[in-house]
Symmetry: C2
Subunit: 368 residues, 2 copies
Amino acid sequence: MAPPLTALVDSLPATVPFVGPEAQERARGRGFSVRLGANESVFGPSPHALRAMAEAAADAWQYGDPECHDLRTALADHLCVGPENVLVGEGIDGILGNLVRMLIAPGDRVVTSAGAYPTFNYHVVGFCGVLEMVPYRDDHEDPEALLTRAAETGARLIYLANPDNPMGTFHGPEVITDMLNRLPEGCLLALDEAYGEFAHRLPPLQADDPRVLRLRTFSKGYGLAGARVGYAIGAPELIDAFNRVRNHFGVGRISQAGALAALQDQRYIRAVVDEVTRGRERIVQIAADQGLTAVPSAANFVALDCGHDGGYARAVMQALRARDCFVRMPFVAPQDRCIRVTVGKPADLEFFGLQLPLALDAASEASG
Amino acid sequence: MAPPLTALVDSLPATVPFVGPEAQERARGRGFSVRLGANESVFGPSPHALRAMAEAAADAWQYGDPECHDLRTALADHLCVGPENVLVGEGIDGILGNLVRMLIAPGDRVVTSAGAYPTFNYHVVGFCGVLEMVPYRDDHEDPEALLTRAAETGARLIYLANPDNPMGTFHGPEVITDMLNRLPEGCLLALDEAYGEFAHRLPPLQADDPRVLRLRTFSKGYGLAGARVGYAIGAPELIDAFNRVRNHFGVGRISQAGALAALQDQRYIRAVVDEVTRGRERIVQIAADQGLTAVPSAANFVALDCGHDGGYARAVMQALRARDCFVRMPFVAPQDRCIRVTVGKPADLEFFGLQLPLALDAASEASG
């Protein structure tokens, strides 16, 4: 007989936070023409990163440095903080999992927005934390509501993505700073800045502030989603505590080398950010041509308001997928009137622009 | 003020299972000439794997397939089991962490050998499991003692590495099969076969047997330690339960591609195994020339008995490191009379052979 799972793990649902596009392609029996659903950077990483990874591949027989020393030091220099303020980990997903493990005992409260990042929720549920969800307000995550609910429930952790995913909306530095100043005692703000490169005004780094952990990644602006490298910036005591639970050799050698080279090519990132800005404008225009409104975005994707309910938006998404456009709809009501479209290369967006009116027709027919 | 850690995590020691050679090189202020301390494969991965990783790097802007479908299917075919019997994860380390999380509640007993894999112990301690350690017997892990202690303590998990690390000793299939048949009810055997490619007679795969999870890796024979890909073979219910806790996007795109290509080049692996066999023989000879005995090894490393106590062996190890040979000594008494030397290329081993007598002299002087 199989040994039983712990009561805690036995109680967990079998969840998959996201079905990957590859699984969808296997189910469809054919590939997508454009991959605009996972907020990846179609512009790819810096050529320097590609070269660094090819070189590192020859040394892939060696474990990566478990201290990620070179990358950690370079990040600290780049951010003007100390290396003791920086943790490198297996993507923001991996870091969030360890953060929840460190702070949340069964029954502890965690506040997030209904419709925010499902992988964070997956980790909270996975350690039997109790999710407290507040609604979006005007398509933005709502700092007031997050703070109020945290105070009411004695929450240990608030999650806020800024820019937000999936809406793309953004709060200026003054909003975040104010929120930090009003954080309930004993509560940490997990500030997910995965899309930070695309936002031009992030709050200043007070790296020793023990009330906030800022989470960033090489998966978005740096174009290295497939390398799995994220990092966190925070107070030394919290950063150091990750050493008690993290998978010390978890960030591979090729990944460390690629991330380091990508970081060192800031000119490339600026060019990507410019491309993304132009791409967002193009998506807004394509949507406007069909009478759709785009939610203003500070990220590398745009939430397009399809103007009806969730059923209609889902039909639009499915019709786009049927026409080989991979897009997603990771929303809850009332944000589920939207579909989410990642910025692509110009040719990708032209293809999307051709398919969108056909998809809207198909959705109207289906719901009419 | 910082939010408090959970009582569980707060109670954990700040442990580092292994200090990487890079950290030692930084402390020394210079690199090692030969890297024979981490049981990596100096022969590197198959050229096909290098090519596959270089190609995949261009797609590194895309997340890896969270289902690892192609690799998982190829592993299943190679092993003649079903894909539902195979889990791909972030190295054996990552899989062990999740396995402990799934099976061990605070206070649950876990049996291992005193001096066996410290990273496994790190995970057990990290989930507040209680480690029960039994001694080695004749430099082998002792199945009888492991079984007896498990029965006495109602353990939920036994860890056994076969071939063993750090001793390199091996139990034949009949010993493991017998052990499985006598496993206490409700206890799982975590059978770490990281070095399985170097052992010629592994027990037959009974993949649906719910009493055992077999752990294998691309880090050793396949020469991809820096890519972080391990896999587990077990009963479908247990494999599936990992979906409740694993980091779904944790295995990167380049890593999946490299591992798949490495798996498909079995001719290369056979050549590596032959090189390793010759290298082991060379290490045994080098040791014998200095009057040292080698523990018979079925892995890609050899434990060399330095003939005295732990202090002496430590002095030998340190003298070797001072002479730019990175070797390790991850033993507890009485196995700590040994140093552990990974098979290197012929030139690496000649360098080691030149340094060993000098290191022995230095150690004798230090302890004399």
